[in-house]
């Protein structure tokens, strides 16, 4: 029983990280109609940068957020400007961002080599620390990722439903031409949103650097989970992504405990198939941006 409870708790917490990793892709797909596979590279690149900053300058890994987030916001802005300049549509975005993913991944591999990298525990106070409720552990690194995912999802929900900018985003997602006619600049909206979603991916990278061992092949291993979360949560739906992340995290965690590690990817994939068959528009459709 204790094992199962621990499995569920870990699943929920890991689900927060999954959600954080999926937010950027989900937002840019749902609201900007750009399927940006380069986000996988951004998550990984951010994780490696956090690693490098802590190891080279002895920075606290959490403090690197102050450098990482603005940096990646800028990257997202530049990328969106590039996409606009090159007139990338939804379909082309797949090919182009796939090429970008390959470039970034190779650059990471040539810079940091294919070896395993991990922030040493002397520099990383968050790695092993845990809260306990009864015998159930809440690892600090995962807890932080989960809380950030919740906060961001809540903030995005408020942003999209309560503010003028959110209304503009939804208008652009529905019909850019019409939005333009009503005085919204689609390019400005897109650039800001792209910056935000890239920053979210970078934040996921920070928590990955804190909690995991890094290697270049990591990025492609995320495809299955992230894509399942994006589809199950609904495109452009931040709250949906958190719910979906938790569902998939718990299902994979419980499956691992019950049937061993072989079951986790299978269960994830079955959830994806089920989502595609029965709710292709996502779990919480009515609140979707797109």
């Amino acid at each position: 029983m204790g094992l199962l409870a621990q499995g569920i708790v870990s699943g929920v917490l890991v689900g927060g990280l999954y959600a954080l990793m999926s937010l950027g892709i989900s937002l840019s797909w749902g609201a900007l109609k750009i399927i940006n596979l380069a986000h996988f590279a951004f998550i990984l690149l951010s994780a490696y940068l956090v690693y490098q900053l802590t190891v080279s300058f002895g920075l606290d890994p959490l403090l690197t957020i102050l450098i990482i987030l603005p940096l990646f916001f800028l990257v997202g802005v530049l990328m969106q400007l590039f996409f606009h300049l090159a007139r990338v549509d939804e379909f082309k975005s797949l090919i182009v961002s796939f090429g970008l993913l390959i470039i970034f991944q190779s650059l990471i591999q040539t810079t940091w080599s294919a070896d395993f990298r991990r922030i040493g525990s002397a520099l990383n106070p968050y790695e092993t620390e845990s809260f306990f409720i009864g015998s159930v552990a809440f690892p600090l690194a995962q807890l932080m990722a989960f809380v950030s995912a919740l906060l961001i999802a809540g903030a995005m929900y408020l942003l999209f439903t309560r503010t003028y900018f959110g209304k503009a985003v939804r208008a652009v997602a529905q019909d850019p031409e019409m939005a333009r006619a009503f005085g919204v600049d689609p390019r400005r909206v897109a650039v800001i949103l792209s910056g935000l979603s890239t920053a979210f991916s970078a934040l996921a990278g920070v928590f990955i650097a804190i909690g995991q061992t890094l290697f270049p092949g990591l990025a492609v291993g995320w495809f299955g989970i992230v894509f399942s979360v994006v589809i199950l949560g609904g495109l452009g739906n931040a709250l949906g992504a958190v719910v979906a992340g938790v569902i998939i995290g718990v299902a994979a965690g419980v499956a691992t405990i019950l049937w061993g590690p072989l079951a986790a990817p299978l269960v994830t994939f079955l959830i994806l198939i089920g989502a595609l068959l029965f709710r292709p528009e996502g779990l919480l459709t009515t609140r979707s941006v797109a």
């Binding site: 939804e90 797949l94 090429g99 299955g224 292709p280």
Partner: protein, 389 residues
């Protein structure tokens, strides 16, 4: 004689000529490496052509080539390496299992009503990694240890190992290209093109969209798996990281984007060019840079090239021939390269660069030579066939 009969005879002639190359080895005394280089090209021709049957014709963008290829590789290696089957019986099974994988995938994804194209693309992307983790964790498939395929017996009729691999890859590549050609000019092909242009309209006009998409996906997956099964003996030692990586989908996409996805010859041309370039980069010790160059080419070509180089080459076949053979002869005569393959690589790069010149540049060149626009009719005809944007 109809155009189709002429093309089919062309396939027979080219196939026979290439099939005889190993017999010439002793007479011409060329290095053994040339055979390996050629069958690597055949491998990619088959992969790119089969990919294009689904993605080029129907417009459903697939990242699943690596998954289908991997299913083929692992079906053959498990049957041969773990259960002691003979290679030649395991080979067709590899194609069948990969085809079945594709059909099951299609059954799920093609049922989704909204966003089918994008969801299809990303599901195929995820499939390879799910399969990889299943193979890694299941000891009856791989279990993380890899499978040895070295010393697998090939039928003696086909000659010794390299020659046999050469002939089998050639055969499968021919089957893939002929399949792509036959579908291109058939009712099925027209149906697939209609689906690509506008699926709702196609469906309304009576194209059985679901069935056609399933046929295209099945053909794609089974050909990819068949070639994968064969490739398992070339790999020698089969590991998950080697098989289920991003290389296969990346290369087939790049090849088809470069060559052109609207014509069955596009992927063939693209495969020949990219394989040659990748081989030269590797032999120049630039394997690390290789991936970056390939990724960069993909971005640039996807943005810059609309119809692929093959269509342009056909429109200006004279310029193509002059550039290609001109550069080839010059490099051979000057002897600036040690290898004949490098000469070909230079000639191909020169041709591609010339072909990728924008129309404005061609106007300038024509004006410079004071000639009247020779291909005006072609331009107009091309404008008619080019739909969408």
């Amino acid at each position: 004689m109809t155009g189709r009969a002429r093309t089919l005879i062309g396939f027979v002639v080219v196939g026979t000529a290439l099939g005889l190359v190993p017999n010439l080895e002793e007479i011409l005394t060329f290095p053994r490496f040339y055979l390996i280089f050629l069958f690597t090209i055949f491998f990619w021709v088959a992969q790119a052509s089969s990919w294009n049957i689904l993605t080029g014709y129907s417009g459903y963008f697939s990242f699943g080539q690596g998954a289908f290829y991997g299913v083929g590789v692992y079906t053959a290696s498990v049957l041969v390496g773990k259960h002691g089957w003979s290679f030649i019986t395991a080979l067709p099974i590899a194609g069948v299992v990969a085809g079945a994988t594709g059909l099951v995938l299609g059954l799920v994804v093609f049922r989704v009503r909204r966003l089918t194209g994008e969801i299809f693309a990303l599901t195929t992307l995820a499939v390879a990694f799910v399969l990889a983790s299943v193979a890694r964790l299941s000891p009856s498939i791989d279990g993380g240890t890899g499978i040895f395929m070295t010393g697998t017996a090939v039928p003696e009729v086909l000659g010794e190992f390299t020659t046999a691999v050469y002939r089998l890859t050639l055969l499968i590549a021919l089957v893939a290209v002929v399949t792509a050609y036959l579908i291109h000019d058939s009712r099925l092909g027209w149906g697939l093109f209609a689906i690509r242009d506008d699926e709702a309209v196609a469906s309304g006009l009576g194209v059985p969209t679901f069935r056609y998409k399933m046929i295209a996906l099945g053909a794609n997956a089974s050909l990819a798996g068949l070639m994968g099964g064969l490739w398992s003996i070339q790999l020698g030692f089969v590991t998950i990281d080697d098989v289920f990586n991003i290389r296969v989908p990346l290369f087939v996409i790049l090849m088809s984007v470069l060559g052109g996805m609207r014509h069955w010859m596009g992927p063939v041309v693209g495969a020949v060019i990219i394989t040659t370039l990748a081989d030269r980069l590797n032999s120049a010790g630039l394997a690390d840079v290789n991936q970056i160059v390939i990724g960069g080419m993909l971005v640039v070509l996807a943005l810059a090239v609309r119809e692929g180089v093959y269509v342009r080459m056909r429109r200006r076949w004279g310029t193509t021939a002059i550039t290609f053979f001109g550069v080839l002869v010059v490099t051979i005569v000057l002897g600036i390269n040690e290898s004949l393959i490098s000469d070909f690589a230079y000639a191909m790069v020169a041709t591609v660069v010339v072909m990728l010149l924008p129309e404005r540049a061609w106007d300038q060149i024509r004006r410079f030579f004071g000639r009247r626009e020779p291909g005006a009719g072609d331009e107009r005809a091309e404008g008619l066939t080019r739909t969408g944007s």
